[in-house]
Amino acid sequence: MSDDMDFEEGGTIKKFMFVNRKAPYGTIYALEGLEVVLISAAFDQDVSLAFVDDGVFQLVKGQKTDGIEMKNFSPTYRALEGYDIEKLYVDRESLEARGLSEDDLLVDVQVMSAAEMGDMMAQQDVVISF
């Protein structure tokens, strides 16, 4: 597991988008999706994340999970930058429908309309939804 290993020798870099649609707790989707994203970083692909519907709650600041006896994994989104995953897209309508704004989020993101998000998705080689 050397970091010098070149997994992509002779390979093509594909555009992967991971779409997060569910609230962070209550189902395992958000946590599993985040783990897949972290693993994907090892393969030097072009990775982006989209947050739509209740998925925007994954990025909300100040999550307190003691009461539900779950690990608060939201700080891990702030580690994505260190994994060179810097393309985080958030659906504006989803934020607004939940009374949230960009200031409520714990990482820097690009907020966009549903139409712009659709364009982003259309540009991908692979779209995986959680």
């Binding site: 010098d4 783990e35 972290l38 693993i39 090892a42 700080p75 260190g82």
Partner: protein
């Protein structure tokens, strides 16, 4: 599996990682390192402490590539490279150093 530290038994998984991360103490690190045939030096502790701070902040054990880059940023390029880290932790700075630091196995450890 279990690890004896100061007469107290600490639970570990089949790969030797702590089951309860809150069981970690510096003394436990010394015992965990013994199991890996490593005598901890100040250089080892520098990496262990770095890993614990990283985990505290981000709630994950970093992938080795990320660890190497982050160590370089914090401790200088002479330490932020594979050779330096593999010399300290021959079986991989990700897996071995994380185990001694009481972190879970790194996500994406391949």
């Amino acid at each position: 599996m279990a690890l004896e530290v100061n007469g107290v038994s600490i639970e570990t998984d089949e790969e030797g990682f702590l089951v309860n991360l809150s069981d970690w103490t510096p003394e436990a690190a010394v015992e965990l390192a013994k199991g890996e045939s490593i005598d901890l030096t100040d250089s080892h502790w520098e990496v262990i402490n770095f890993l614990r701070e990283y985990y505290d902040e981000y709630q994950i054990a970093p992938a080795v590539r990320v660890l190497t880059k982050a160590i370089g940023k914090k401790l200088g390029p002479d330490k932020g490279n594979s050779k330096y880290l593999y010399d300290l932790f021959p079986y991989g700075p990700g897996k071995q150093a994380c185990k001694i630091a009481g972190l879970p196995k790194p996500t994406g450890c391949i």
